[in-house]
Structures are given as structure tokens and as C-alpha cells.
């Protein structure tokens, strides 16, 4: 079987999912498909099962926070077809009020901890995940630290006031 071109992949998923594929961009050596989050699982399932593509390796997944966007939260998934050596990136955006994605665990077991990490750091919840708890941070933490509004410095430190070198006191103001 021949290596599928990105155009063939785009054509196939456009045909199957139509309007739910929101955009296709070339970012360096990757093609990024932005999709509606409702088709996430069915798209991955389709790419996994289809003999022409065989995207059966989930390279990585992570959450992203873009505070200035209308939909400020995103999940990024990178799929790899080891047979044809094609890699693609899938992105789905959502809002703070609807911070849910469907879990990919039925397709990729590896998604388990990747999703827990996204929950831990961004508060993104995954429907159907068997154990939606924090993974790297302590369990009684009451915020999601990778969101942009949380400062990197300890909130109890007021002595570090050197804006010249990138430590912004403004971060503290946002919280209070």
C-alpha cells in the first residue's frame, strides 16, 4: 500500500466529517487539523481503523490555554501512522463553561495519563475516563496551575519584586 498524502487524508476526513473539520494548516513539518470537539473520538477511530491511513500510535496529547481566544481551551493530539510514517496533529477548542472532551482511552490506552495530566494542569475533564483525578500535583490543590492566570511564583512571596527580569508583580494583582 502506498503512503497516503496529506491531501488524501484531508479529503477522506472532509468527506466523512464535513463541516466538523474546521481548518487545515501547515505548521512546519506538521499538518494541523482543527476539529469540532464532538467528532474527536469518531475521527480518531476512523483514522485508526482505515487501512489506508492506520494512525495507530498516539504520540502525545496536551492541553493548551489561550486566554485571548474566544474558545480559550484546547486539546492537542498527535497521531502517528507507523506503517506509512505520517504524522498529523489534531486540535479541538472549547470554552471554560464546557470544559469537557470525550476520552480516547477506548482507542489508545496511552491516553489515560495524558488526559489526567490535562485535567491536573488545565482542569479539562474527560467524559468516560475511569479515574479523573490529579496525577502530578497534590490531590488537595484547588486550582489548575498551567492556566495562564496563575503566577509561577509562590503567592506568599512578596519580596520578589524585580519586574526588570521578567518576574511580574502584575500576576499577583490579577488573583486578588
Amino acid at each position: 500500500m502506498n503512503k497516503p498524502s496529506i491531501d488524501q487524508i484531508a479529503e477522506a476526513i472532509n468527506e466523512k466529517f464535513g463541516n466538523a473539520i474546521l481548518s487545515r494548516e501547515e505548521k512546519y513539518d506538521f499538518t494541523v487539523f482543527t476539529i469540532d470537539k464532538s467528532i474527536l473520538v469518531s475521527l480518531c477511530k476512523f483514522l485508526y481503523d482505515d487501512e489506508r491511513f492506520q494512525f495507530r500510535y498516539l504520540t502525545t496529547a496536551c492541553g493548551i490555554h489561550l486566554p485571548d481566544e474566544p474558545k480559550p481551551f484546547a486539546m492537542m493530539y498527535q497521531l502517528h501512522s507507523l506503517v506509512f510514517n505520517v504524522r498529523i496533529r489534531i486540535k479541538a477548542y472549547t470554552t471554560l463553561n464546557d470544559l469537557h472532551f470525550d476520552t480516547l482511552i477506548p482507542i489508545f490506552s496511552a491516553a489515560n495519563w495524558m488526559e489526567r495530566e490535562a485535567f491536573d494542569f488545565y482542569g479539562i475533564r474527560f467524559n468516560g475516563h475511569p479515574k479523573m483525578t490529579r496525577i502530578l500535583n497534590v490531590e488537595d490543590m484547588d486550582y489548575h496551575p498551567m492556566r495562564k492566570e496563575y503566577p509561577v511564583e509562590d503567592r506568599t512571596r512578596y519580596d520578589k519584586d524585580d519586574t526588570m527580569f521578567g518576574r511580574e508583580k502584575a500576576n499577583f494583582k490579577k488573583l486578588t
Binding site: K27, Y28, F30, V32, R56, Y57, L58, T59, T60, C62, I64, H65, M76, Q78, L82, N85, R87, R89, I105, P106, F108, S109, A110, N112, W113, M114, E117, F121, P130, K131, R134, I135, L136, N137, V138, P145, M146, V152, G166
Partner: protein, 402 residues
């Protein structure tokens, strides 16, 4: 699929055993709460994050060149690979072209790092089976490799080796001499080490069939590196998506069959010989090059000028100031770059908004991803096999917890 915590309702006496977080046999800070039926593991619940240091958050607050020291605290057994993976990610973002000589020099260092990583992992498998001798033998070779790092960058464990665009200085004569000596002497040392373990009946009985995983499950769990290859899948980033001129090198990708501890051990053993062969080829290629001096790319807005120029040359002073204060323009965009790390595909997903710091930096840490399978791999095994399985998977706490 996540395994449900199942304690069978059969009126047996089950014991809960806390393995870790600090236990000499776990080689790092991992906790596993095991449910035991006698000596057999019925179920386990891993807890991680004991040395989480928020690298992804910290990276969003540091200029690009200050992120290198964060990366070498991830897989500290092969930190040069992490450092160079990060440099290459930034170079990809800024579209920097590197001289061939720099790429070959990087290959040498990365392969040395791979050897030192595999030496530690394989000899620790020996320790966990009760064979301390091999471990003590091979640490001499690791020491030699660390001396080479020391010669090149001054550090040993957390190396911070190289810069965005190349190296901070050229390899000196002593470094070349030490590399040559290592490449000559190590095969005999490896043979000696193998003589202790490879056909050792006790070692074979302990490791063959211990903690196996099938190729399908390994792929489903996104295994990479020697662990995936031991299961029989020949996925190696160096061959699949070559970087740093790996496409010019001749090397074989050893694979195993059963995905058990013995196969993982043997795959790593063979990879060390392949790494040595790559280093030899790289040195030959450097010999043949016309270019005998360049050790960094010509990207003045990212590569710090020599200090004497900063004092005497206006342009160098400006660049120095711009780099240190983070005033250099970086293109907007998102880039993913992966390298074959000591234990698998080490990836960097970098989103840049044009500012001095990354907007988002995500590390694809191979052992964070494959350690998930540990629960499945040790289910039904003996406790002593679980210890061996963990050490043969090369789970590095620093990388696991980022």
C-alpha cells in the same frame, strides 16, 4: 482500557503492600500500592508526581536559552540528548542551518549519552537479579563518558551541553583522545559485562518471561525506544524521522520478540554496539570534512558572541545584550521535534507567540507514557518480578514527573 481495581470476592486474605515511594529497589521515587495474594500481585495502584518540578510552567517564564538546564533534569541518565533535542527544536522554529561538523559532533555526544543510559539501565537489571558485579564494572565506562562531557562542557550529570546553534566551544584534543579511547576500549568492556549475564542461567531464569508485553499492547500504550523494540516493533526516531544527519549513518535497529525483561536487556546491549559504530562513522566523517573549525551555526541573534568580542566590538555587544535580555525576535508558530532519547521518543511541542519565552512548551516524556502499562505488566506476577520489570523499563523519576 484501564483495569478496574478488582479484589475477588473469594474469602481469601489479601495483603496491601506499600512499595515505595522511597524504597531502594524502585530506583527513584515511585509509589505502588500493591494488593497481594501471598507473593502474587493481584492489583496495583501507581502514584507518581513526588518530584514534580513544574517544568512546563517554568518554561513559560524563561527565555529559550534558559530552558536547557530544565531539560537535563528530566532524563538525567542521558541529559545531553535532552539538551540537544531542545536546541534542535528551537533551531527548527527559527529555521537555522547548522554546519555538518556540528551535526556530527552532536551525533557523537548523543550516542555517548545513549551508551551511558543503557549501561546504567542494564547493569541495574543485574543488580536487581542479585548480580552486583557487572554494575560495578560498567560504572567505570560511564565514568569515562562523563569525563568526556566534562572535557566538553565542564559538567557531568546535568550537563547543559551545547547552545542553540551548536556548541559553546570546540572539542579540545583531550576530548577527542578520550572519545577515541572509549570507542576502542568499550567493546571489550561490554563483552566482559555480557559474559557475566547474557548466558548466565540464574539471570536467564529470572528475566526470560518476566514482565512481558505484546507488540499490540505496547503500541496501544505508545511505547517507544528499546521497550517497544524489545516487543518486536522496529520504530526508531533516528531512522523514521532522521534529525542531525542521522540519515547518513549506517546502523541497525535491534528488535526483540517477547517484550520481556531479557529482550529489553538484549536490545539495549546491541544498541550500545550500534551507537559505538555510529560514533566511529561520525568521527570518520568529521575527518573527511573540509571544515575543521566550525562548532556553531552562524546565527548571531541567538548564539552568544565570544566574550572578548563583546568588549571590543559594537555589533557583538548589541547581540549579547539582545540575547541576554530576551529582545531577539522569534517567529510565531508551533513546532514539534522529537529525538530518540535514552528510553524512547523524546518530543518537544513548542508554541511560540513571538515573545522571549515559549507560549506553551510540552515535553513528550517517553517514560511518563509507557509507565502506565506497568500496572498491566505486573498483574499476576511475583513481587520480585515487578521490581525487575520496573528497572528494565528504564523509568527515570525525573523524566516521569517533569
Amino acid at each position: 482500557m484501564q483495569l478496574k481495581p478488582t479484589i475477588p470476592d473469594d474469602h481469601k486474605q489479601y495483603t496491601t503492600l506499600n512499595l515505595g515511594p522511597t524504597h531502594p529497589a524502585t530506583h527513584g521515587i515511585f509509589q505502588n500500592v500493591l494488593t497481594m495474594d501471598g507473593e502474587i500481585i493481584v492489583d496495583s495502584e501507581p502514584t507518581i508526581g513526588y518530584i514534580h518540578r513544574a517544568f512546563e510552567k517554568l518554561a513559560e517564564h524563561k527565555p529559550f536559552y534558559q530552558i536547557t538546564p530544565l531539560t537535563d533534569r528530566m532524563n538525567y541518565c542521558s541529559s545531553p540528548i535532552n539538551n540537544m533535542g531542545w536546541h534542535m527544536t528551537v533551531e527548527k522554529l527559527i529555521k537555522a542551518e547548522l554546519p555538518k561538523r556540528v551535526e556530527y559532533m552532536r551525533v557523537i555526544i548523543m550516542e555517548l549519552a545513549r551508551i551511558s543510559d543503557h549501561l546504567v539501565c542494564n547493569s541495574v537489571i543485574g543488580v536487581d537479579t542479585g548480580a552486583m558485579t557487572g554494575f560495578l564494572y560498567v560504572f567505570q565506562w560511564r565514568e569515562d563518558i562523563y569525563e568526556i562531557y566534562e572535557e566538553i562542557c565542564g559538567a557531568r550529570l546535568t550537563t547543559n551541553i551545547g547552545r542553540i546553534g551548536g556548541f559553546e566551544r570546540d572539542f579540545n584534543e583531550t576530548a577527542w583522545r578520550k572519545i577515541k579511547k572509549l570507542v576502542n576500549d568499550l567493546p571489550a568492556g561490554l563483552k566482559e559485562f555480557e559474559k557475566l549475564l547474557v548466558r548466565n542461567r540464574i539471570f536467564m531464569d529470572r528475566t526470560i518471561g518476566c514482565g512481558p508485553i505484546s507488540a499490540e499492547r505496547a503500541l496501544n500504550y505508545s511505547f517507544s525506544g528499546p521497550n517497544l523494540r524489545a516487543a518486536g516493533v522496529d520504530y526508531d526516531v533516528r531512522a523514521m524521522n532522521p534529525y542531525s544527519s542521522y540519515e547518513e549513518f549506517e546502523f541497525e535497529i535491534p528488535i526483540g520478540k517477547n517484550g520481556d525483561t531479557y529482550d529489553r536487556f538484549m536490545v539495549r546491549e546491541e544498541e550500545m554496539y550500534q551507537s559505538l559504530s555510529i560514533i566511529r562513522q561520525a568521527m570518520e566523517k568529521i575527518e573527511k570534512l573540509q571544515d575543521k573549525t566550525s562548532f556553531h551555526a552562524d546565527i548571531p541573534s541567538f548564539y552568544l558572541p565570544p566574550k572578548e568580542d563583546v568588549y571590543n566590538n559594537m555589533e557583538a555587544l548589541i547581540y549579547h545584550f539582545k540575547i541576554v535580555m530576551g529582545e531577539t525576535d522569534v517567529p510565531k508558530g508551533e513546532v514539534y521535534h522529537c529525538v530518540e532519547g535514552g528510553n524512547g521518543e523524546l518530543g518537544f511541542y513548542l508554541m511560540s507567540d513571538g515573545g522571549r519565552q515559549p507560549f506553551r512548551l510540552h515535553f513528550r516524556r517517553p517514560c511518563y507514557i509507557y509507565y502506565q502499562a506497568y500496572r498491566e505488566m505486573i498483574k499476576g506476577a511475583f513481587l520480585s518480578d515487578a521490581i525487575l520489570t520496573m528497572s528494565s523499563m528504564n523509568v527515570i523519576a525525573g523524566e516521569l514527573d517533569a
